[in-house]
């Protein structure tokens, strides 16, 4: 990823808390330097954003025999950001059958990440 080069300073808005500090991160001699962080969590957040950015992903899956045609699903853990659209493609083509309980695994080990996609709710 281009972020790994990071010769130029990169601005990152921290979302570790609601304050939203504007951090500046740059790489120097293999080390990531973070400035303007209001706290330690901010520095950790910036390093995570540069080395391995991840997001919780929530979407819907087609369900047969349920109250609604769709059931909401989400990733059991934050998912690698650069693979989100690939994951969404898989979610979009998945079909399941009711009944489903909240927490049931809908896609196991999605894209080999070890992260599952699980149902967000019960649906009879």
């Amino acid at each position: 990823m281009e972020r790994n080069k990071l010769e130029q300073p990169m601005e990152i808005i921290c979302v570790a808390c609601p304050k939203g500090c504007r951090l500046e991160a740059r790489r120097k001699n293999g080390e990531i330097l973070v400035s303007h962080a209001g706290c330690k969590r901010g520095k950790q957040y910036a390093i995570g954003e540069i080395t391995d950015p991840r997001r919780m992903v929530a979407s819907t899956v087609r369900i047969q025999g349920g109250l609604h045609p769709l059931i909401p699903v989400y990733t059991s853990e934050p998912f690698p950001k650069d693979q989100i659209f690939q994951l969404l493609d898989q979610i979009r083509t998945t079909r399941i059958q009711s009944p489903v309980k909240a927490g049931d695994i809908v896609i196991k080990d999605a894209l080999g990440t070890g992260i599952d996609v699980v149902a967000s709710r019960d649906m009879a």
Binding site: I13, V15, P18, K19, G20, G38, R55, M56, A58, S59, T60, R62, L67, H68, P69, L70, P72, Y74, K81, L88, A102, S120, R121, D122
Partner: protein, 424 residues
């Protein structure tokens, strides 16, 4: 269900309704009934499939439906009765409800206590007076959210979103996930109206441009939206000539605020506050009508669902005590008055003798963003009673100031206390 008499009846089964039903049942009343107009319990949480719920009370980051499921399961375990697909037609001050549904027909119900938990509605095009033609393709963000997340329809392919509220930004990401192009998010104010987290994770992550101090000048299209004309505005929301831009799109979503839904409250004679558009309540969430309580977004628009749940617990307990004859409207009340930089405060008044052991949390919104360290101060006359330091104050985030029992004793005999937010 044969009886037409209940101890506590809750109107609405969103987070405020579910929590208040649970608290009412746990506080010793026999019969608790939830009336819900949708086919299932849960309210708007069911269409809020994104994460971010429950961080405060569960210390977990849950999607909306999962957050709702926990309370729905508890409602079932406690044996709380429910009437689904049922519309309340009328509510009177003596706590009689008339309702109708396909399965129950027309019914009249008498309750000892009522909890209003109807939530809010979105502002529509009519309420923000957008000029232009009236084609298909102009929807509120929450309506589009229901279609995309619950019913399985995409309302368009190319979107412009007016308003930087959280629902609008979350829908920008959701539509992008489903293959649509979101051309722009417009915000008339000079600052974001939703949370920073949503700006970063919903707009910045997908390179969706946000234009502050911009609005829609005109909607263009005959049968269907073909474009919107946007314009920059000055500090007084006046369009700046020459800044117009035509953005081709097929759908305009509106995320321009929420209004507490209080038709039933009005029928019962519940007094509403002109700024919140919700009932005036005391610290028990008791309205001015004895035995009628209110919880959640029907009172004022919350920032986090966790605080709605907390409010539901308080209202549910209070309603249960009232139904058992253990609690009435307060005798002595002190009014909470919004001072400098405070838009409103909930509760609007309270009885200090009821907080001898417990803190009294006051929740408020600041009237303008202050990006500097502030004090949130409680004053009795000109005397400072307590204060809290915050790193900043923003209209999008609620602020809480807890008054302790020993603070409250200092107010005894006063008619009003003032809360203000000032720079440190």
């Amino acid at each position: 269900m044969n009886t037409n008499r209940f101890d506590v009846v809750i109107i609405g089964s969103g987070p405020g309704g579910l929590a208040s039903a649970i608290a009412a049942k746990k506080n010793g009343v026999g019969s608790v009934l939830i009336i819900e107009r949708d086919l299932e319990l849960g309210g708007i949480l069911l269409q809020c499939i994104h994460n971010g719920f429950g961080v405060e009370i569960f210390k977990e980051d849950l999607p909306g439906p999962t957050y709702a499921q926990r309370f729905i399961d508890e409602v079932r375990q406690l044996g709380i009765e429910t009437m689904l697909d049922t519309m309340v037609l009328n509510l009177s001050a003596d706590r009689r409800l008339t309702l109708t549904s396909k399965t129950h027909g027309y019914r009249e119900i008498q309750a000892k206590s009522i909890i209003l938990a109807m939530g809010c509605r979105e502002r529509t095009r009519a309420q923000v007076r957008l000029p232009g033609t009236r084609p298909a393709g102009v929807y509120t963000a929450g309506t589009a959210q229901r279609w995309v997340n619950v019913e399985g329809f995409m309302p368009g392919k190319r979107f412009v979103i007016l308003g930087s509220g959280d629902i609008g930004m979350i829908m920008a990401r959701r539509l992008t996930f489903e293959g649509a192009k979101v051309e722009r998010v417009l915000e008339i104010m000079p600052y974001l109206s939703g949370l920073t987290r949503n700006y970063v994770q919903c707009l910045q992550d997908f390179d969706i441009p946000l234009k502050l101090q911009h609005t829609v000048k005109r909607i263009i299209g005959d049968q269907r939206v073909e474009a919107v004309e946007t314009v920059a505005v000055d500090a007084h929301w006046q369009p700046i000539p020459g800044s117009e831009e035509i953005i081709p799109c097929d759908t305009l979503l509106l995320s321009v605020g929420l209004i507490p839904e209080n038709e039933l409250s009005r029928q019962a004679g519940v007094r509403l506050h002109p700024l919140t558009n919700g009932p005036v309540v005391d610290a028990d969430f008791h309205t001015n009508i004895p035995g009628i309580f209110a919880a959640g977004n029907v009172v004022h628009v919350y920032d986090l669902v966790d605080w709605v749940t907390e409010a539901g617990y308080t209202a549910g307990k209070s309603a249960a005590l009232y139904a058992q004859g253990k609690r009435n409207l307060p005798g002595q009340t002190i009014i909470t008055s919004a001072g400098k930089n405070v838009r409103y405060i909930v509760p609007h008044h309270f009885d200090p003798s009821r907080h001898i052991e417990n803190d009294l949390p006051l929740q408020m919104r600041v009237s303008r963003p202050i990006e500097k360290p502030v004090w949130v101060e409680a004053l009795a006359g000109s005397e400072h009673i307590t204060r809290r330091a915050l790193p900043y104050a923003r209209p999008g985030e609620m602020i809480t100031l807890a008054l302790k029992p020993d603070h409250l004793q200092k107010f005894a005999g006063l008619g009003t206390i003032t809360i203000q937010i000032v720079e440190r």
